[in-house]
Symmetry: C2
């Protein structure tokens, strides 16, 4: 069922203890669209790139049958660029460079063919832009999920609250949940998030997995213990892509199905970190994904008798 994905398409320079790259395909919408393309079609993308965005990278998206009609190409500006360096524990990183470039004046266009979409994933972006997309859809989608980050809590908190109030699922990481709510307990943080509007709160905990909250229910998906985390960049976006991809594929927005969506998101994210940038997300097969998801079943499953 039709899914619209909004976010950046960009280039990243990444340094981890395992290596360094000066320029690799990145951006929230890139990771989200690639991940969700393994579950559902069409994946209709809204983004903006500059004159430096390589045709070969556009082709990568096309190869995954991702619809790029809503991707604007600005011929007088460069693409969004981010550079970061991970610490030895891979759980924390320093942002070295953020060049907004085309994102600084991003006015999202919703193509007519995207109208009537059933699922909307708002990747990390200015909450003003995220809200504009919702407002430019003629009909409210069946489920709207959004990601955000601490940056917007620092500089655009009021706008962020307005956008959060309009969505069904907020997907953020543990530190962001604590910053947004002022609560250290993730259970309390989730309650506060749900009092802001969303019916579901998904709190990502990196290597420790993810929590899904809904009313008084909570589900904990484990992180898959890995021998090597090569590059965590994009793992959170990939999680969101697998999550919304599974929801769009099944058309089921029940708590039980969103639990599955969290597991599929976790499985896709576990691939993402195995190589630099989105490389590991490019050639997945349904069988490889199913095998990985079954690892999560064995990892989490127990019975009392």
């Amino acid at each position: 069922m039709s899914l619209v994905v909004v976010g950046s398409m960009a280039y990243d320079a990444i340094e981890t203890p395992f290596g360094k790259t000066e320029r690799v395909l990145g951006g929230a919408a890139t990771y989200i669209a690639l991940a969700s393309s393994y579950f559902t079609h069409p994946v209709q993308t809204i983004s903006v790139v500059g004159y430096d965005f390589a045709e070969s990278d556009i082709q990568i998206m096309r190869d995954h049958e991702i619809n790029l009609e809503g991707v604007q190409i600005k011929t007088d500006e460069k693409s969004f660029f981010w550079s970061g360096k991970y610490h030895n524990d891979m759980n924390s990183r320093d942002t070295l460079v953020t060049e907004l470039n085309v994102l600084g004046t991003f006015d999202p266009i919703v193509p007519a063919s995207y109208q009537g979409c059933e699922y909307l994933l708002l990747g990390n972006l200015s909450p003003d832009v995220q809200r504009l997309v919702i407002e430019r859809l003629d009909k409210r989608p069946k489920l709207i999920a959004m990601d955000t980050m601490n940056f917007w809590m620092d500089i655009a908190l009021d706008s962020l609250h307005q956008t959060i109030a309009m969505v069904d699922v907020l997907i953020i990481n543990d530190e962001e949940a604590r910053q947004l709510t002022g609560e250290y307990s993730l259970k309390r943080a989730a309650k506060k998030i749900m009092s802001m509007g969303p019916k579901f709160a998904v709190i990502k905990k990196g290597e420790h997995g993810a929590l899904l909250f809904h009313q008084d229910e909570v589900f904990s998906a484990p992180g898959l213990p890995l021998e090597e985390v090569f590059d965590p960049t994009g793992a959170g976006d990939t999680f969101a892509g697998g999550f919304i991809g599974h929801v769009a594929k099944t058309g089921d927005v029940s708590f039980d199905n969103l639990k599955r969506a969290v597991v599929y998101g976790s499985a896709l994210a576990s691939f993402c970190v195995e190589k630099f940038g989105p490389e590991r997300l490019l050639g997945l097969s349904p069988e490889v994904i199913e095998t990985r998801v079954n690892q999560f079943v064995r990892l989490a499953n127990f019975d009392l008798t």
Copy 2:
């Protein structure tokens, strides 16, 4: 089936953001024995206390039908004393005072009635003392599990390795696993631990739950999201007590049953942190424990269809 528990019985002074106590019952063996007493009898304790150990605290143990024949009372020394202060996040703490007192010269006595025990839990103690207990048992128990901490890695690493080589299950936290093995990845750390002797490695991750490794298998038990963590003191020991208690109750040392043991240990630990010291562990009923364990089932459970 018979279980022997070895460790300290002590007094703690604890400060958390929620309050402060100058003297509360503590010690690894105290928490382990209390937790395991909800699953199995006899719980045969080996420990040492000083002249200051209150009769009322002995009575607490007796009320839980804990066998104290192996607990020495030294009339010329004080009990082990530990004082710590938790940081605001409750995940880290500073040790303010450690007075070994009676533990400094602890020579563990194994009463004749403890011989032939089937399960042995070596709580955090000098690895020399842990090993002495194993050596003083006429017959090797069916399953030996041990806890330890970074302190012994710093000052008695060779002895620690000797003890680890003699046990079936090593239970440590994530930071300790990393320090012991020099591996950041917990999967790699667990492999190294299993190459040191133990068939099972249990890695505790505090609020993030616990991992159980065995051969190529891994199980992840979630942490129960709590609104309030009042005092984490003793949670790791309580986990170990619930774990070994379930194993001793069922007499089953299969991987599947050790998964359940990790869940029971996690459930008991989730009670422990709700009040200061061991208070919350004193009046549990089988029904209350079963209800909590079923929360873990709902928390972790998902199916793919």
